[in-house]
Symmetry: C2
Subunit: 461 residues, 2 copies
């Protein structure tokens, strides 16, 4: 694969194209070569800030002509090293492509540039009665969320980016622009290029525009916090609710250590026990009915102390506390980095998977906050490591290794929502199998023969 | 591309492998070389009935060694010519691979062999309290439904095969077996090979096993038939319901001519006016609430004469009448073949698209039943043509041509659920664009370089 440093003619051409919107400064390169993951920094040779699909196309043409890697960059909130320029090259920062292109309220769709963040889109929608539900913890860009097949707390009800991206505009390595999908709600027209690019982590194309589905704001929304004697009680309450067909809008579990971290970080006073954060969407009557049914299941599983939030302000505070769980967890060991695990298993195996993981932690003499989107079978363990502590890092990676093997042994996946990036490549190979990986490589080579798009991510060459 | 007839050594090898489960008889070849579409018959050179993924793999190895095309075959219910062996070769009939591999009730998943039909799966589930919602009119196989990205009447609530296939086992042209996806509800693990194969129409791999999502049978289900002064009133009732966030489970519109055909075929006595067939799923209270809200919208749009069906038997009769609409339509002109249109547009444009289509029919002096999944923006026009009437066929194709252009001009698609097959290839080219088609071709050539898998479907070479 090509790892040539950008030659002066390329940098000169990019400067001619973009002027001040191209930088080779140490500070900018360092900012873009560092991320939320525990992977080592890896700086690009230059950073560019295009303003249009046409400019991205021109940049891709130039990089291709010079055989230089391209690394798409959104909000930089990846926890799997997606934006690290491990083979150097040009970081294409799409954050200035942040226009709302069109909101079609009657069709429940929005088309936005790749740099629009989920919160920006929802601010834009606030008077429309519509909302966009997908919410990874960070205020990620819709381009980045598409590229990593992100999800979040609402996925149990509304699906992930896989289900909610209708169409994309993307730039291929050659600079050619493709428009995948249409604004129709469904289609059987040829290969599903949209779903192929969703989750491709910038290795097949650079996403520049995204059309997503929107949803009507429900008549009634009600959130609740309920605590349990055990993690199993909390998890089983959610699983049984799903098996009963109760359309939970959100069902998040935070264990006692996570609740302790949340209380410290968000200055809340929740009981520091295994806790569910729940939300119900519907009409006033159906929300009351759903809540009553879940309340009964919770009581039967040792849950108690329901605290309700129905006003928007209370609900937002509650979910902000949940969204901050990652940052709260980091503060348990100030200065630490986090090995974030991300397995997802069939829901019937979730309690068993979590219990076996706690047993492993006890055996290792470790503590780690555990929380997750239990309605999807997806949970995260925050394995905190002080920089430079090689032994602790090795121990954390070994716990993650065993956790992934456990999940894959239960017909689950090594990553529910974070993506493969750099660190999960061996696990993808195990999960997809020899022929599955060979199919992925064949597709990669067919669409990016010079391997210039985000090289070294998903698989190495 | 290869169009060599199967040589004797291949036929001998297939016979040695499969014995009586290989046939070159004229009758079997004719049966498999004919379909529901208006395309000309095209017979395979032989038909095989494998019983396992291993046998499909062995067949693929043999076909590849001899450079002979392979055409996967399920229930033969395609209306776009997918199963016609237009380049000859071996028809791989998967209907005897009809075992239910596993039903995981607690996880709401089922794994079945490709030849299992949707009704067979639902019969198997009848005591479990679960069901599989995707229902194209015919009793198609789950392999075929996956390969064409099928949907049906429940898609407005439960999605299409795109949203409901979790994992696949498939055989590549080389005979290699891939397992895509896992039983986890979501994943970010590498390229979405599952979604790439869903809708690939047998051109990338032969699907041999399918893992799908199941749903809990709702506490209450209630269906209703309501008739309207105008098609627009019926369509607008559905669109407004969706825009209000009412979770319709089914919302089918049948125009007056279709209702006439249904009455004749199913011996019903519905008013022969534009009609909605609706269904509501939920708890008893929420179903009543949904029905009341839709009732108000219907009344405001000129709807009346609500007839309710709440008992299973009544509901089944109603939906059977709807599922038979295609066959009922054919009987309006006995002996005719049907050019079935399948556009899908953003829902805000649906009334306009239908009205313009009626205007075109009036201008042509034609009548054609029109019905569809209006909640998705998808509708079908049955353009009936007597065999051999070239002028009528040309006129029908011209109407479909203008309809597709109209839909694509409204940011819609040429096919909502039938697929591209043989007839819609020029429209796919227009919809996907030069670079989109080039991407699809590159993927095809990367995965099936000798172009032996269902050649001539989706695109010609």
């Amino acid at each position: 694969m090509t790892t040539a440093s950008p030659c002066e003619p390329l940098l000169a051409a990019l400067h001619a194209l973009l002027g001040e919107r191209m930088s080779t400064s140490e500070a900018m390169r360092a900012h873009h070569g560092h991320d939320e993951s525990c992977h080592a920094d890896a700086l690009p040779d230059a950073v560019v800030w295009p303003h249009s699909t046409a400019e991205v196309s021109a940049i891709a043409c130039l990089c291709s002509q010079h055989g230089v890697p391209m690394v798409p960059y959104g909000a930089g909130s990846s926890v799997e090293g997606h934006t690290l320029a491990i083979h150097g090259g040009i970081c294409i920062d799409l954050s200035q492509m942040n226009r709302i292109v069109a909101i079609h309220e009657a069709d429940l769709t929005a088309t936005v540039e790749a740099g629009v963040t989920r919160m920006q889109l929802n601010r834009e929608l606030r008077h429309s009665g519509l909302f966009f539900p997908i919410d990874p913890g960070a205020d990620a860009t819709l381009g980045g969320m598409s590229a990593t097949r992100a999800s979040g707390t609402n996925a149990v009800r509304y699906g992930t980016m896989r289900e909610n991206v209708l169409a994309l505009t993307a730039v291929l390595a050659s600079g050619e622009v493709v428009h995948t999908g249409t604004r129709a709600r469904k289609s059987s027209a040829g290969y599903d290029l949209t779903r192929l690019l969703v989750g491709s982590e910038g290795t097949l194309a650079i996403i520049t525009e995204v059309t997503v589905r929107l949803y009507g704001m429900p008549d009634a929304m009600s959130a609740a916090v309920v605590n349990f004697d055990s993690v199993t009680g909390a998890v089983d309450t959610v699983i049984q609710s799903i098996q009963c067909g109760i359309p939970l809008a959100r069902a998040e579990m935070l264990d006692a250590l996570t609740m302790q971290a949340v209380n410290r970080h968000s200055r809340t006073d929740y009981p520091e026990r295994p806790t569910l954060f729940l939300e119900f969407h519907g009409t006033a009557d159906s929300v009351a009915e759903q809540a009553a049914m879940v309340g009964e299941l919770a009581a039967a599983n040792g849950g108690g102390g329901f605290a309700w939030a129905t006003r928007d302000e209370e609900r937002n505070k509650l979910w902000q506390a949940r969204h901050n769980a990652y940052f709260a967890g980091l503060q348990l060991q100030p200065g630490s980095r986090c090995v974030a695990t991300d397995v997802c298993v069939p829901i019937s195996r979730l309690s068993e998977c979590i219990e076996a993981t706690y047993a492993d932690l006890r055996h290792e003499g470790m503590q780690a906050p555990l929380f997750g989107h239990v309605g999807d079978g997806n949970f995260h363990l925050m394995l905190l490591v002080q920089p430079g502590d090689e032994a602790a890092m090795a121990q954390a990676k070994a716990v993650n290794h065993r956790l992934i093997q456990r999940a894959q042994g239960m017909e689950g996946t090594c990553t529910g929502e974070h993506g493969i990036g750099i660190g999960k490549q061996p696990y993808l190979a195990a999960e997809a199998g020899t022929h599955g990986i060979a199919m992925m490589r064949a597709i990669k080579l067919a669409l990016d023969p010079a391997q210039l798009l985000n090289p070294g991510k998903i698989f190495s060459y």
